[in-house]
Amino acid sequence: MREDSRSVPETVERFLDSTLESVDSAEELTVGLAQRAGFDDDDLMKIGLAVRESMVNAVVHGNRYNAHKKVRLSVTNNGARLTVRISDQGEGFDFENLPDPLAEDNLLRTSGRGIFLIRSFMDEFRIQRLETGGMEVTLVKYSVSK
């Protein structure tokens, strides 16, 4: 966090198509807001990557590129923390039994590292199944490190 930052509370919300272009848009939009909130370059990279991984999960694994399904993105800076919520309209998945990507047998797997990276780069990570179907992830980065 930059010490001289004077961020103004801000919220943006978008309903995005289930495309890879939306992944780029969500990352760009979130990093822009985080930059205005005063996060430093290292945190911006971490926030951007966490949002990218979450968006890929929503677009590819959740909505499966379905043109009729949307991804909701909400980003809020309240001065103390940046909160990102991303939800899809997919079938959901068993998030409690994900393989450990650091296990020796899994090291050479070509996928399965997305949620691990999100957890590594954000201060809080929550995932829940929505009553309306689909999954919602909540990512939080503190403005002031604990």
Binding site: V23, L49, R52, L107, L108, R109, R113, G114, L117
Partner: protein, 114 residues
């Protein structure tokens, strides 16, 4: 900017200079195609120069692993050169840094191929 690749020969080592972002979509598929082409032409010594890679996501990491497996299974060697701090950090937290043979000096990397 997406990814840009340039392949050159240094002796019997094929060096792929990678620049840009290795992410899901064009970035990772371009890298996959380049590695498969070299393996298809029976190139056994491949050095991936990531010095100009600004960004890599989990899909890009997956492509590095896939490339490593493809080259190794064909009897070849894939090594990495010039990782910047972000890429190095990503490989370290995913425990892949020790899987790859990583070099900071091209001449030394070329010499290291058996």
């Amino acid at each position: 900017m997406s990814v840009k690749l340039n392949t050159r020969q240094v002796g019997d080592v094929s060096v792929i200079d990678v620049a840009g972002r290795i992410t899901l979509g064009e970035g990772s598929s371009t890298l996959r195609d380049a590695l498969r082409e070299l393996v298809g032409k029976n190139h056994k010594k491949i050095l991936l120069n990531l010095g100009e890679v600004s960004y890599i996501d989990s899909s890009g990491i997956g492509e590095l692993v896939s490339g490593f497996t493809t080259v190794t299974n064909s009897g070849g060697q894939l090594k990495l050169l010039n990782l910047n701090k972000r890429v190095k950090d990503l490989l370290q937290i995913t425990k892949l840094y020790t899987v790859f043979d990583v070099h900071d000096d091209e001449a030394g990397a070329v010499r290291s191929f058996s």
